[in-house]
């Protein structure tokens, strides 16, 4: 009798566990359809496409590989089991902010490529950058030269779906180092040593994003001139848009994606563009979409306020060269 009672409780608890497992499995399955249908949507218009995913994976792996190399040395890292690198990349992928940043970079890479194809906007050397490189102020010219070199490296890296770890904004760079320190793959002392060396080599000011932000600040009130894609190229355009509207650069980049037309229109307005140029810029980035009605008569402050009120929490937090 006592045995039976015991059996029954055991059965019940086993059943309960299994029931929980099934519920969880159901929930996971129910998530599959929307994700797949999103991915299956005709390419080009979806926020997340196969191309974006591939770039994201590539960049995550590249960062993980660089961390491995920093700890073990280039030679030893080549012999490391690819699964180990995968694990580290997975750990990095659990950081939502890092994902947002890399996602914006992937979008930027795709947009730059598309603009080059469709509107013959040079991905690297735009007329504005040319002007800045030829500036009669040697320091501005030098800065522009450095930004130009960084942009050309970026385009190359995007084609290879890679990203040098030193290009990350300080917060994300630190969190990548933390992921490395936490990882069980490495010897504690070696990881500590590697983190120190990586930190020492890091200088946010010389990253592509900071270089462009510095270039935009050096243009001061002339920064609005950069809100002309054909004149400035996408990289400076996005940096100036972020700076002039007080949004993160990630958001400014994503606003240029086709599914974010309203955000783009508002951002251009908040950045200070008047009706005609606003229409032109919008047309280049969102061909086939209609400009939201009344946007060019919306006061600039209202546009700024609307953007601020509907800011997307957690996306592209305050880093990457954007000030308070």
């Amino acid at each position: 009798m006592a045995d039976l009672a015991l059996d029954r409780t055991e059965t019940t608890s086993v059943e309960a566990i299994l029931r929980d497992e099934l519920t969880r499995a159901n929930r996971a399955l129910s998530g599959v359809a929307p994700v797949i249908s999103h991915l299956l949507e005709s390419s080009g218009q979806t926020l997340v496409s196969d191309a974006t995913m591939a770039r994201l994976r590539g960049m995550l792996h590249d960062i993980a590989r660089q961390l491995c190399e920093a700890v073990m040395g280039v030679q030893a890292a080549q012999e490391v089991d690819p699964l180990v690198v995968d694990d580290l990349a997975d750990a990095l992928a659990s950081n939502a902010e890092l994902l947002h940043h890399l996602y914006a970079l992937a979008i930027e890479g795709q947009l730059t490529e598309r603009l080059g194809r469709q509107s013959s906007i040079d991905p690297v050397l735009s007329p504005l950058v040319q002007e800045l490189v030829a500036s009669d102020q040697p320091d501005v010219a030098e800065l522009a030269m450095a930004a130009l070199a960084a942009q050309s490296r970026f385009i190359q890296h995007q084609r290879r779906m890679s990203l040098p770890i030193g290009e990350l904004p300080a917060e994300l760079f630190l969190s990548a180092l933390q992921a490395m320190r936490k990882s069980a793959l490495f010897d504690d002392d070696e990881a500590k040593h590697a983190a120190k060396a990586l930190k020492k080599a890091y200088d946010e000011a010389n990253g592509r994003l900071a270089l462009h932000a510095r270039l935009v600040t050096s243009m001061r009130s002339g920064a609005i001139a950069a809100l002309n894609l054909e004149h400035s190229g996408f990289c400076l355009f996005a940096t100036a848009l972020a700076s002039l509207t007080g949004q993160s650069r990630e958001i400014a980049v994503v606003a240029c994606h086709e599914r974010q037309a309203a955000r783009l229109a508002l951002s251009l307005r908040a950045g200070g563009l008047a009706a005609e140029s606003l229409e032109r810029q919008f047309g280049i980035l969102q061909p086939g979409y209609l400009l939201p009605e009344g946007i060019s008569t919306l006061p600039q402050e209202r546009a700024t306020a609307l953007l601020a009120n509907c800011a997307m929490a957690g996306f592209g937090a305050d880093h990457g060269g954007q000030g308070a």
């Binding site: 102020q137 040697p138 320091d139 501005v140 030098e142 800065l143 450095a146 300080a170 760079f173 630190l174 930190k199 890091y202 200088d203 946010e204 000011a205 010389n206 990253g207 900071a210 932000a213 510095r214 600040t217 050096s218 001061r220 009130s221 700076s243 880093h319 060269g321 954007q322 000030g323 308070a324």
Partner: protein, 467 residues
């Protein structure tokens, strides 16, 4: 670090507690207009956050920043470089593209609300008035206003202006509340200057149901209220620091900023000569501004009651910090600074901040007057067991016996006006340093040139503290 050096508009050094130890022109001004001092905790919140972040993470970071200095929006691109522990453990702050612009005018309604919030948060006396401005209830948070509370308790229910003394008002009560809002007044028993705020409560039509009365003091209450006699004397002798400097700083800053604008051709292309003239104007303005700082310092050290604090000062540590602060300047001229051995601490009796100030002056002079790629040596000696000295030696042209006599005199520049404008000293640095040394019971002297070959040597002597 070496690139784009000339975009640089300002730089400063902080220590391991985020105190701004030194800063040049624009940054120093911003620190001051944000209510900070040098050396003192970085008072610009936007920069403080960046410096903290850089120091904690040990990363060189670069961000756009903007701050409000009370009048204009100041913006630029800040690069923060954490320093090694042996260099003080703080950060080097570099600001590029310094830019001032008028703050976008907030709507007047917004501004009024903001002002009300500030006054509510800072008032030390608050009261509730009825529609006829009679005090219904009063609460006092400052010690020197307790007499006011007593006055009210003794005879409550009168119009508020009968308890205080209104100033600069030609008319007598009753006045419309709008005329009284913001007026100056004195409170019985308080030496401070007060400002009254009347904020209407429950406005229906033109007649408020009552008022919130806030009394905001213009100065903080100093512990152990100073008797008025001393205040008078201090005000008299500190004419420059307390009266002249605050008034002159703004116009001079404007001259520098505008000249810089012209020099960098921000408003459009101009001929190179004009840009150079503007450069000279800016340099002269900067000279004027540092002169003002020195004069304010001078006043402090010449004040009759000037005293320094007495702490235990590790001379080697002070020398190391001073050298860390001037490291950038020395590196720019290829000068290496040889420091005393930190493992043998020599403790002297003095005030750390003042010793640091003297050493910065001495080492700064040595760097300025040494040939490029030479060496500046700092040596510590113990003399007879109860004195300690620290000497700064350079390889410059040296000081002859005649100059040695005059070098510590006020405004003495030893003919250095003619060196092409490189040196923008006021001729007060050594004078102030010597005064400080004397105030700490020590001395600052120049070692006679005949004692050794080339180069100048200055020796600071202080009482030694034996462990």
């Amino acid at each position: 670090m070496n690139r784009q050096q000339t975009l640089l508009a300002a730089q400063g050094i902080t220590d391991d507690n985020d105190r701004l130890l030194s800063a040049d022109g624009p940054l120093a001004q911003l620190q001051e207009s944000c209510g900070g001092i040098i050396p003192g905790v970085l008072a610009i919140p936007e920069l403080l956050a960046l410096v903290r972040q850089a120091r904690h993470s040990g990363l060189r970071i670069a961000r756009e920043f903007s701050a409000f200095d009370g009048e204009d929006m100041v913006s630029g691109f800040a690069r923060i470089q954490p320093l090694e522990d042996e260099d003080g453990g703080g950060c080097e702050v570099l600001v590029e593209n310094w830019h001032r612009a008028l703050k976008p005018p907030a709507s007047s309604h917004e501004q009024a609300e903001w002002q009300d919030a500030v006054d509510r948060a800072t008032c030390e006396v608050s009261a509730r008035l009825d529609a006829a401005q009679r005090v219904q209830i009063i609460s006092v948070a400052a010690a020197d206003a307790s007499e006011l509370q007593d006055l009210f308790d003794a005879s409550p229910g009168k119009v508020w202006s009968e308890y205080v003394e209104l100033q600069d008002l030609a008319h007598k009560q009753p006045l419309h509340w709008r005329l009284l809002d913001g007026c100056k007044c004195m409170i019985p028993g308080s030496h401070r200057h007060w400002r009254a705020r009347l904020i209407p409560v429950g406005v229906t039509g033109a007649n408020p149901r009552g008022f919130e009365l806030l009394l905001v003091a213009d100065e903080p209450l100093v512990a152990g209220v100073a008797p008025p006699v001393e205040v008078e004397e201090a005000a008299h002798s500190r004419l420059i620091g307390s009266a002249l400097t605050p008034v002159l700083r703004q116009p001079i800053a404007r001259i520098i900023a505008n000249a810089e604008t012209i020099r960098t051709r921000l408003a459009g292309p101009i001929k190179a000569e004009y840009s150079d003239y503007a450069g000279s104007i800016a340099a002269a303005g900067q000279h004027l501004s540092s002169m003002l700082d020195d004069l304010a310092d001078l006043e402090v050290v010449e004040a009759p009651g000037f005293k320094t604090a007495r702490d235990h000062v590790d001379l080697a540590d002070a020398a190391r910090r001073a050298a860390g602060i001037l490291g950038v300047r020395a590196r720019n001229r290829g000068i290496s600074i040889i420091l005393p051995n930190p493992d043998k601490p020599v403790i002297a009796d003095g005030e750390f901040r003042r010793v640091l100030q003297i050493l910065i002056n001495l080492i700064g002079n040595a760097i300025a007057y040494s040939p490029e790629n030479s060496t500046v040596t700092v040596v510590i000696d113990e003399i007879l067991g109860d004195l300690a000295s620290i000497s700064v030696r350079d390889e410059g042209p040296g000081v002859d016996a005649d100059q040695a006599k005059r070098i510590f005199e006020k405004f003495e520049r030893l003919g250095r006006d003619s060196d092409g404008g490189n040196d923008s000293g006021s001729g007060l640095g050594l004078y102030i340093s010597r005064k400080l040394a004397l105030a700490m019971g020590g001395d600052l002297e120049v070692v006679a040139a005949s004692d050794k070959g080339e180069g100048a040597e200055f020796r600071l002597t202080l009482a030694r503290i034996n462990d």
